[in-house]
Symmetry: C2
Subunit: 671 residues, 2 copies
């Protein structure tokens, strides 16, 4: 949800004897880019807005749908409340945007909710926010892609038969694009989307309100019956449905935090520019959401979910549970269909495009947050370093895998996924706002200037309102959605929270164990006994021998394991002929096994000379093609890893570059 990926040149590097998986990866992802990482580009507002806001704005493509689908569970009565619910969501949106403008001003270096909660409420609040956001990034990808597929159905009805497959394929493509190093997303889909939606709303409202035309959507003639034949729900059932519809509609708020996280990528004055963009995004999202809900009401859009239990009742008395096109699709058809058909395709196409962009923001946001968490020691440290694109690759693969699992598990149903979605964002919102309240409280204690104090008090009031409202919405969301799926999201958050706490504790323990203090013995080992593992007498062995000699150890010994009598005899003869000046010791191996006898020899050498260090030289074959590494060095790797468990041993790899490796280096040097 920020654009640090713009700055990252990803590359793939040789990582020792390679696994089949790595090989396949190389095959799919392509040759590594050898570029050095570049500094992040700072964005003017007109570029920052489309890149950071696609997630927030794209929710207009599914939030109204989810409101109407949920309301259909209460039969026709539900629809009476559609615009009030839209307005309610819009008010919460406004509160959140205003609150975030305070955050952006207070943290000009980029105040994600994670940083705000950590700094003000402590580690555990920060980790709670972080795990909520990690889970939500997964859901952002899953929901956005599934919503995109639903819009694809409007353009290409045959897609309905393969929704899951298409959604998973799209996720895979997004992952690949990001693995290969996406250069940031384009700005135009956001603008096309915003302009086309407003055009549609404007023309639609103009035709209805000014020209007095009667525009009827394709589902206007249908009435809606709730589950078990409910056509007008009353009392608690109605309240529960309205609460759920509101909760689902709150999906429109996801993505607002992305602008706050993106502050570092704005041109200075960063805070002011970010606050301005936030305000613009808020106004746009509010207007689009309410416009769509109102126009849907005016044109009589009725929407059901095929699996939700509600059904359509046609004027001829027949019923059907087959869903209709999306709200956007129906409105576009209604507004443009009778005079300018391409207009409706442009609206749907732009919606599809912005939904894919929104999914793509997950592929930036997730690895970036993971990198921040790794820097703070809550995730494996290798996820941190910026230039090491492996960090980002792992995050991308993890995110894509999790999103694909969600899509398959929930059969690409946006309505089902939405039940999991909003919880995480509102946990982050609430803790972020509470953190801001504390922040202002602390700031007020040290601020003397009267004007400053007034501004801070005002900001604190805004954030208090924000915290109360978002907290209240969180409670509504939890109650209305817990059993419908939110528990899954909470469980996933709990697991990632526990994992991060465990990793944090592990790093702390290791740090304590490895700390230098005065009591430790600083004595040097007295001598170095070099052992060279000889399997064949060839150039890599010769190189290892030469390097061992150059290192002037106290004693030098070449060791061969007699796996095959014939080979051993040949080796001994060749050794005698070459006259290296190093004795060759042949060790019997009754079970034709290399590792154990060699380890035993090294171990005995250690026991006999406890004050010395044993230096084991192992020739290493460096090859240029990934599959070649499957054919070499495996025994060496095994021995090396076993030696690591012995104290007083150091392991020396003497790499020998085979011609295929040298050719590869030359190719890369040229390119």
């Amino acid at each position: 949800m920020d654009c640090s990926s713009i700055a990252i040149a990803r590359s793939w590097v040789y990582r020792g004897p390679m696994s089949i998986v790595t090989g396949l990866k190389r095959l799919v992802v392509g040759r590594r880019l050898a570029n050095a990482p570049a500094a992040p580009t700072l964005l003017p507002k007109r570029l920052a807005l489309p890149r950071l806001a696609s997630d927030a704005l794209s929710s207009v493509a599914y939030a109204p749908d989810e409101i109407l689908i949920t309301l259909s569970l209460a039969g026709m009565t539900g629809y009476l409340f559609s615009w009030q619910i839209g307005l309610g969501v819009g008010i919460v949106l406004a509160v959140v945007v205003v609150s975030y403008r305070q955050t952006v001003r207070a943290y000009p270096d980029g105040g994600g909710d994670y940083q705000v909660a950590s700094a003000n409420l402590g580690k555990h609040a920060g980790l709670t926010v972080a795990s909520a956001l990690l889970v939500d990034y997964v859901l952002t990808v899953a929901v956005s892609v599934c919503a995109a597929v639903v819009h694809l159905k409007v353009l290409w009805p045959a897609a309905a038969n393969h929704q899951i497959l298409i959604a998973v394929t799209v996720i895979a493509i997004l992952a690949l694009v990001n693995l290969r190093g996406a250069r940031g997303s384009a700005a135009w889909p956001t603008y096309v989307f915003v302009i086309s939606v407003f055009t549609m709303l404007g023309i639609g409202l103009f035709r209805i309100l000014v020209l007095g035309q009667e525009l009827r959507s394709e589902t206007a003639e249908l009435t809606v019956i709730g589950p078990e034949g409910v056509d007008h729900a009353m009392g608690w059932v109605l309240v529960a449905v309205i609460a759920r519809a509101f909760s689902s509609g709150c999906a429109a708020l996801t993505g607002v935090e992305a602008v706050a996280n993106g502050v570092p990528y704005f041109r200075p004055p960063k805070s002011r520019n970010a606050a301005t963009v936030l305000a613009i995004v808020g106004v746009l999202a509010f207007a689009m959401l309410l416009g769509v809900v109102v126009l849907a009401r005016l044109t009589g859009v009725h929407l059901i979910d095929e699996l939700g239990g509600a059904s359509y009742l046609a004027p001829d008395g027949s019923t059907s549970t087959v869903g209709a096109a999306t709200v956007t699709g129906q409105l576009a058809q209604t507004v443009f269909g009778d005079w300018f058909l391409p207009g409706s395709y442009i609206v749907v196409g732009a919606t599809l495009a912005i939904l894919l962009m929104a999914a793509n923001t997950g592929f930036t946001g997730f690895p970036t947050l993971a990198s921040v968490l790794a820097k703070d020691g809550f995730l494996p440290r290798q996820l941190h370093t910026r230039g090491d694109r492996l960090a980002f690759s792992n995050g991308i693969v993890l995110l894509a895998g999790a999103a694909a699992v969600m899509v398959v598990a929930f059969e690409a149903s946006v309505t089902a996924l939405i039940q999991l979605y909003v919880v995480g964002v509102f946990i982050a919102f609430t803790l972020g706002q509470v953190g801001m309240v504390k922040h202002w409280g602390r700031a007020l204690r040290s601020e003397q200037d009267r004007g400053g104090r007034r501004r801070m008090t005002r900001a604190r009031v805004i954030n208090i309102i924000g915290a109360v409202i978002t907290g209240g919405v969180l409670v509504i969301v939890l109650i209305s959605k817990f059993l419908h799926g939110a528990w899954i999201a909470l469980l996933a958050m709990g697991l990632s929270y526990t994992l991060m706490v465990a990793i944090d504790r592990h790093y702390a323990q290791v740090r304590a164990e490895l700390a230098l203090d005065a009591r430790q013995d600083r004595g040097l080992p007295s001598r170095v006994r070099a052992v060279i593992l000889v399997q064949q007498l060839n150039l890599p062995t010769l190189k290892a021998l030469n390097y061992a000699k150059a290192s002037r150890a106290t004693s030098l010994m070449a060791v061969a394991i007699a796996v095959d009598d014939e080979e051993t005899r040949r080796l001994s003869q060749a050794w005698a002929k070459e006259d290296f000046g190093i004795p060759l010791r042949v060790i019997a191996s009754p079970y034709r096994e290399i590792t154990q006898p060699f380890l035993k020899y090294v171990s005995e050498l250690r026991t006999e000379n406890p004050r010395d260090v044993v230096a084991v030289y192992i020739p290493d074959y460096v090859v240029g093609r990934w599959w070649e590494s499957l054919l070499h060095n495996q025994t060496a790797a095994l021995i090396r890893s076993r030696l690591h468990h012995m104290t007083g041993v150091m392991v020396i790899s003497v790499p020998y570059q085979l011609s295929s490796s040298r050719r590869k280096e030359q190719r890369q040097a040229r390119s």
Copy 2:
């Protein structure tokens, strides 16, 4: 298909920074066994027979079924030929057994077809046999497990709804059992199977032929209609169906070669004992096969495949394509059902058990053959070494994966899999026999003794007959099955053949490239410049510094990369305070990246001192739990692998054992 696994103690070892996959593997497969490999146990005939022959004998459980199912494609006419086809298969079986008795006598050290073909017909014939056998091991597992599931359906009809899932689960369980180190298979299922089948055949034939009872199987009243309503096929259609039925019936011959491969595991006199067991297996298989086919004819068993196109016609005129129980199941029910029901369960249960044992032989045969191929340089060399159980693990996982793919692709249908199955075995049979013919020809040229020459000439005649018969069957199988699926098996064999040739060529090229000869420069590098990578100042770094000092290099330099200004400042101060006597060089890293700046430094050092070797010391954290290794050493591993591509650099790992690693070593030492 032999029992070398009896001798193998599998263990799992630490292999450096571990992948998630490895971690999961450890979790599932369990803690490594630290035992040393033991010598193979030699088996008396009464144990060798059940262990080596389960594959050959178990085919009685599906070969008659496949004969009848194929014949059903010709309608009722087909069934007239059932016992002739059974007899034909039996005759081929006899020829193959007699031929193999010659092979076993000629190769007392274990003459698999691969060795025989390689030794007498050259590398390419050997590789052809090897790839045929590798593919056939996969199919042995797939076919045996699917046939077992079909028999499970007889005992537990609900299994029919989950055949694929059950088959894949069984394969996974077999793989796990073998990964954890199966201690050879039990002998009793084979004996129970043989005894129960003969009891069933004896009682059945006695009741019909002696007591004159009319035993009617459950499908006796049904007639069979071939595809497109054919109820009596004629002419070429009939010939084609008979040829296919014969080819499918030849599945009864698979597994005979396993006894020949198993010669090394017999007690001396190995050859004679193996030949005796071969004869016994041949007689048993022949009698059981023919007995089942004849009894099925007498009791009116009719069998169709649900997807094959044939259908049942009931006396009331209704038709059905729902298949019936297996031949063994129907016979057991017919013979025992009306007076001793447990008898029928024993037969079916024993059949199930021997089929699982047969599948299990694949899990021994495949890795063993792969190990032999690796020794000869046709597969990655690490598959060879006996004691290294990783070799066998990889083979087991590969086999299980391939078998599972086959099961899923062919929807656990034995009839579909059988189309692929027999080709490989008959390629191996034919080339093995041709190789034996050449062997005797060569032996005759040097043999002077008249008695010896007579024996050899006789053996050669037998092998010529064997070669002609098996070659003829191979042609029939290829013609009758090619389009029905055999092409897939041939394609797989072609791919593995190509792979092995490529690996062979690669190893030869590397050997040539690395060979020592007199022209090479033997000059020693003049000096060693040691560089110690310092990321933090802690005990592992101290250890690396001490080891570097003890190694008395020409120059010593500690290098830190300035990723974080604050950390770097603290490091420099601590360094100054400690007074190690080694300069610390801090290298700027504008993009907060460790690898590139460090590599650049080493590269410059190399350029400035082209005659010297650079020794890079890297502290390595050794941890005891698999997940801990995900949290450490990743940057070190990356740097190490990149350094391997530089000439004139050696990389020294200085392992520091964390307490979790020491505790693990102690646990293992105790256990």
